[in-house]
Symmetry: C2
Subunit: 408 residues, 2 copies
Amino acid sequence: MATAFEFRLLATDGAARRGEMSTPHGVVQTPAFMPVGTQGAVKGMTERDLRENGAQIILANTYHLYLRPGDRLIARRGGLHRFIGWDGPILTDSGGFQAFSLGPREPGRGSRVGVPQPARRRIAEDGICFRSHLDGSEHLLTPELATDTQARLGSDIAMALDECLGHPATADQARQSMERTLRWGRRSRDRLLWLRSQPPDAVLEDGLTPIRTNPGQAQFGIVQGSVYPDLREESARETQTIGFDAYAIGGLSVGEPIDAMYDTVAATAPLLPADRPRYLMGTGTPLDLVECVARGIDVFDCVMPTRNARNGQLFTGHGPLNIKNARYGEDDRPVEETCRCYTCRHYSRAYLRHLFLAKEIAACTLNTLHNLHFYLDTLARIRDAITFNSFERLRRTFHQRYSLRLLS
Amino acid sequence: MATAFEFRLLATDGAARRGEMSTPHGVVQTPAFMPVGTQGAVKGMTERDLRENGAQIILANTYHLYLRPGDRLIARRGGLHRFIGWDGPILTDSGGFQAFSLGPREPGRGSRVGVPQPARRRIAEDGICFRSHLDGSEHLLTPELATDTQARLGSDIAMALDECLGHPATADQARQSMERTLRWGRRSRDRLLWLRSQPPDAVLEDGLTPIRTNPGQAQFGIVQGSVYPDLREESARETQTIGFDAYAIGGLSVGEPIDAMYDTVAATAPLLPADRPRYLMGTGTPLDLVECVARGIDVFDCVMPTRNARNGQLFTGHGPLNIKNARYGEDDRPVEETCRCYTCRHYSRAYLRHLFLAKEIAACTLNTLHNLHFYLDTLARIRDAITFNSFERLRRTFHQRYSLRLLS
């Protein structure tokens, strides 16, 4: 039997927490940032790039892998770790957020501008009915399917299916959505407990019992409730009543003002058990990470470092720089003098700008290497600061150097 | 003063030669293959990927770097080596082939199909007049400009400007073109000798004397003459009369039948000095490399391993495989069981197929790593075989395993 999921709190500094999260594929030092490997690959990175940069755990998207190459195919390969060649911890989301993102919306990003798009998803009590972005095929993502799919993938941490509401939402909408998330959470948990109750020799696809490629898989519940403190409080309480291995805060970084995000995190984190890791989903800027650690968060994920790298935005301790800018055309300095990533040890801004303008693939690789290094190194420094009780000093320094330029 | 260009012949096996080519940035064991770094980057690779795969020398395209970011900008950065972060040997072409490729042609690859394109280049006695593919600006590439540009880039080996004729060409066309190449070769050489004669304190841009960022730069002349033995013979003789540091065979792999290519190489190589390396430009398949080593060639370059990798074609000792193919969807084996590249040590065909279909950037990186490893490892095995007088056995084995599947 693989290692069960465990969390040890090692130190605190104010509300900031330093911990250690054990999973079947290894230990994660927290606070931790998870690079996003949407389709089973962190874009532009290989396994050794991630290792070199200090990645401890990565996130993979169930929606994408379910559609292509298919969770059953991955299960036949022995599970996601073996398939993608990453033997460290993996967290999978439930697929709900991506399926939800296909839904009714204004023409814009991802749809042809000005052309009304047919709704690609419909939310009902049973689950989310969506059309594949690949071939238009119809699928119904239920809590049970989300749980089975993640069991087949065999991630170390699976997420319960939730409804991720956008911003703004009325209190009524937020309550209905939060209550549905509770019902879906209960069903997700029941399904996982049932799967766990199956005898070992039933761990074969028979049309009823899905393959579980990682018997030690943990499952996190998700707290919703938009920016309404009473709903968040109720959601935190009732989600814990269901009883998950740990808890996440969802439904933030979806367009709400930054203060509402910080306030909601500050109000919700203390309602979650102190002896379990707290995961803030889909956040955020480097400053957001520092600010949410200060409010008691342990685990983060975000596409920002990887996506922005591909758009030429590079993070530094003095704010981001856009490598496209003409001022870097003859700049022989590295992106950041003090950075120890391969990109900064080896290449100049002038060359990185050339690669970007020339649309060279290496631009993506080298920019992503740097940005992930910046994020992962920031978390390493945060961990040290908490250990040595100097987190508030790090936070102030970070704020002074970073916030105005990043947020402007 | 940097190391002068030198070549030592270490062993022969039939017409196959094992040698050592010294350049200001290091020694190249020959026969050698040069990965192509068109815009100052081998597509999808970083410097350490190339080193790990055993790349000894890379090729960069003068045409592309002249247009973007500009050879003067690169000279101000200290030259191409420093700019691109590669401190090993570099060969630059003259820019002629790319400028030539812009010329009158059938609608097809690189132009909008079915839409007649205005001629983008015109060849006159003075040089090649071409329009930039980036902004349409007009440029006149003369032998003097090609030489000055490469002096600014500071490659270890520069190429004289030649006219690269397509196939088929009449004997008359081939003679005119070959004779022009001789005149351009003379002018290229005269320009380099004049540059070399300038006092060291004139090695600064003053409007007249171009910057030379690599005082030890060598220059190769190019033998033309299409598939006509008498023209090749005359070109080989007269190019040597001009007196270059070494010689290349140009104008092959441009559409002629494979036997005509092999025959021309077999007839031309022995006409070149035995104590200088012989470079066959723009060739070819793995089998071509073996067959042309057997005919006395020492140095190769080709986009095939890198370009085909991006299209999903992977080379193996038993012929190429197309990773898109459905048969690899559940194939847990590496691309090649015996291959020691990072891709084969770490990833399965099933995962590489998934990355390719999902259009992940890592597909390009991992496929390119493998193909370059295959090419560079093939050359390393060829070098061993020549040293141990077993080249003919290697050639036969290679032929049996490889030729039918590759050429079919």
